[in-house]
């Protein structure tokens, strides 16, 4: 049984406004996403900004209410749990946020922020809270003496480490890391990523790792989900993405990553055309407007996600 199983998840944001708060339009942020993550695995989610990656993550931890679909955690359907029933599940699922500056309360010392979580869930007896938090800070590589400082006294990388400590404080099983390093300096991205992977092993975590960088995903994840405008276009194992990728969009993403080998330069695919607006989705394949292989069928009909081989699914008429 997979640890997390998501089936047909849909999220439409209703944009309201005008007189009487009418629904002006719908944003189709997530359109029927399905996947499963086995315990101990890391599933990467990749896609351009605005394709619904964060929304997907928030739907899973129930920060947002889904329009349709189902999320199962350890076989239990959590999509309709009430707030109180969610409590125990929430402890097991945590999220690391993209913007480390916004993810810490500016009016709380970082130590207090983490202690609050530990105390709230009674992870350890009251007397041991301090020791527990000291240990957590040591694990994420923040000096224990810095606990009484406020977030603005830390650098972005340190703040993200505090954020990681806070999400680990409840001993979760499943972590959603929403672009955990994309707001950080390139020089420290690798440090934080390595820390995250070390902790994954230490805490025996299962992860959903969101990024817009296929290279990073290829390096750290077991398999990857390629999203476009809220649709999953391809899911493939991260063995040799360069060779395995079938979908033209995945290939384009690979091309968009700078390649070290100069002989491969000529293969660079440049994405042309506009991303369609999520307000009025085209009828057929969402990628049709920018695809090199586009046919009439693509414009008429959304291709189904079909399994090409074990663990490799593609939604494309042309492959």
């Amino acid at each position: 049984m997979p640890l997390v199983e998501v089936s047909n998840l849909v999220k439409h944001f209703l944009v309201r406004g005008g007189v009487f708060n009418r629904v002006l339009r719908q944003v189709h942020a997530v359109n029927g996403v399905s996947f499963a993550i086995e315990k101990g695995k890391i599933l990467g989610v990749v896609g351009e900004s605005g394709c619904g990656k964060s929304t997907l993550g928030k739907l899973i931890v129930r920060l947002l209410d889904m329009t349709a679909g189902k999320v199962q955690f350890r076989g239990q359907d959590i999509s309709h749990l009430s707030a109180s029933e969610l409590m125990s599940v929430r402890r097991k699922m945590q999220m690391i946020f993209q913007d480390p500056h916004a993810s810490l309360n500016p009016r709380m010392t970082v130590g207090a922020a983490v202690r609050e979580v530990v105390a709230f869930h009674k992870i350890v007896p009251k007397r041991e809270i301090r020791d527990e938090v000291d240990a957590l800070f040591a694990k994420v590589g923040i000096h224990t003496d810095s606990q009484e400082k406020y977030p603005h006294e830390f650098s972005g990388g340190q703040k993200q480490r505090v954020g990681i400590a806070r999400s680990l404080a409840v001993n979760p099983e499943f972590i959603i890391a929403d672009e955990p390093v994309s707001a950080l300096d390139v020089s420290i991205q690798a440090q934080v990523l390595n820390l995250l992977m070390d902790l994954k092993d230490e805490f025996d975590l299962t992860m959903l790792f969101i990024s817009h960088d296929l290279k990073v995903i290829d390096h750290f994840c077991d398999s990857v989900l390629v999203m476009y405008l809220g649709f999953v276009l391809e899911e493939l194992p991260c063995r040799d993405i360069q060779a395995d990728a079938l979908h033209p969009y995945t290939k384009a993403l690979l091309g968009a990553n700078p390649v070290a080998d100069p002989t491969q330069r000529h293969e660079l695919t440049v994405l042309a055309g506009e991303v369609p607006s999520p307000y009025d989705l085209p009828r057929g394949c969402p990628f049709a407007a920018r695809c090199e292989l586009v046919t009439n069928q693509c414009r008429q009909e959304m291709p189904p996600l079909v399994e090409k081989e074990s663990g490799h699914r593609v939604a494309c008429w042309e492959v």
Partner: protein, 397 residues
């Protein structure tokens, strides 16, 4: 709470504020006003000091020499007349003991001596009364001085301490009933600050809690709060104040400050509510609030520990704005006779000055003192509010 305040003090905004000289001067002025308030609360000036007759009516401040006609009037009426009448009483000793003008009593002299002084004085008075208008008769000046000296002999000299107290009380003159304008103006500081602080604290608390709840929970809570404040703010606030003040005028609470508090708090929370609601809607989207949600915290904890503390700067600015608002409105209400009832207030002083025709006859001390004290308090708070707003404006950070 303490750590939140400490953080506020050490924040960049606070450092900016400390570099703002205007704000520092304003803060200093406010501190002086606060000291007076505390002194009055410790009974340095009692309500009795403010309602007592302490000297001649409508005396000028700073011991300025007045026009001859006024001096004649004061010398004639303050001691001479009551002593003369007491001497005619069947029991002159008892009657004389009752003659008092503030701290002044009749001089401790024998009846015959007093009788002599009175008849001498009345003789000079008759001579002076021959002139139509003393102001236009400089040649009578020596006579007037003599008359003043004579009437002064009727008064028991004050001890040194009493003289000091008397001079302080007379510093800004007296009103039409002979009460100390200086003490009344000082006492009004306490009334104004008390009303300002109580109203501002209560209004900010109500506004912040309702606003934060509305912004945070949304849905029907938000609808209710928005409905409430749009309804309240569509009533002209002065009219509402008048209505509430009238509603209380029949009850026992009429003499207290309660009607004023209720009237002000009923409308003053709206501004704070609006801004805190907006800020909460913004904060709610921030990731640390979402992180608190994924940590499983309840709404109350998130609201009070993670959202409200981050609106502290708005509360501070609104506190300062509401304080001035309340002080100014108090003056207006009291002027209309609907505000403070049994205590002095700048509004009442300004009204008295107008009603008694003081202003018309060129006696500006009462209205001058009231506006002077009010002006600097309001000015200081205005400067401080502006400085606070600047300091917390993210665009300047």
């Amino acid at each position: 709470m303490i750590s939140s305040l400490r953080r506020l003090f050490e924040s960049r905004a606070a450092r900016k504020l400390r570099r703002d000289n205007g704000a520092l001067v304003a803060l200093l002025v406010i501190c002086v006003y606060l000291l007076v308030t505390i002194a009055v609360m410790c009974n340095a000036i009692s309500l009795n000091d403010c309602s007592q007759v302490i000297g001649p009516k409508s005396a000028a401040g700073f011991f300025l020499k007045e026009l001859p006609e006024r001096r004649f009037e004061i010398a004639r009426t303050s001691m001479l007349k009551p002593v003369a009448r007491a001497l005619q009483n069947s029991d002159p000793t008892a009657a004389l003991a009752d003659v008092k003008l503030g701290r002044w009593a009749v001089a401790d002299k024998r009846l015959t001596q007093l009788q002599k002084i009175v008849s001498d004085a009345i003789a000079i008075q008759h001579e002076l009364e021959k002139s139509e208008n003393l102001d236009q008769a400089p040649e009578l000046e020596p006579k007037l001085v003599e008359f003043e000296r004579k009437t002064a002999e009727l008064i028991e000299p004050l001890s040194r301490w009493d003289r000091l107290a008397q001079n302080a009380a007379m510093l800004l003159g007296t009103d039409a009933q002979g009460r100390s304008i200086f003490f009344r103006a000082l006492y009004s500081i306490k009334v104004a600050i008390q009303i300002g602080v109580v109203t501002a604290v209560v209004s900010v608390l109500i506004g912040a809690i309702l606003g934060a709840a509305a912004g945070f929970f949304g849905g029907w809570v938000d609808h209710c709060v928005v409905w409430l404040y749009t309804t309240f703010s569509s009533i002209p606030s002065l009219v509402l104040l008048v209505v509430i003040a009238y509603a209380f005028s029949a009850s026992d609470a009429k003499e207290t400050l309660l009607p004023v508090y209720v009237a002000f708090c009923a409308t003053f929370w709206i501004g704070t509510c609006r801004v805190v609601r907006g800020e909460t809607m913004k904060l709610k989207q921030l990731e640390y609030v979402q992180a608190a949600r994924t940590a499983g915290f309840g709404s109350a904890r998130i609201l009070f520990r993670h959202v409200l503390p981050n609106t502290a700067h708005l509360m501070l600015i609104n506190f300062s704005l509401l304080l001035i608002g309340a002080i100014k409105s108090e003056v207006i209400l009291s002027y209309l006779g609907l505000g403070v009832q049994s205590q002095p207030s700048w509004g009442i002083m300004i009204r008295d000055a107008g009603n008694n025709g003081d202003v018309m006859s060129g006696f500006f001390w009462q209205i001058g003192a009231a506006t002077f004290f009010m002006f600097f308090l309001v000015l200081a708070f205005n400067i401080l509010s502006d400085a606070l707003q600047d300091a917390f404006d993210p665009k300047h950070l």
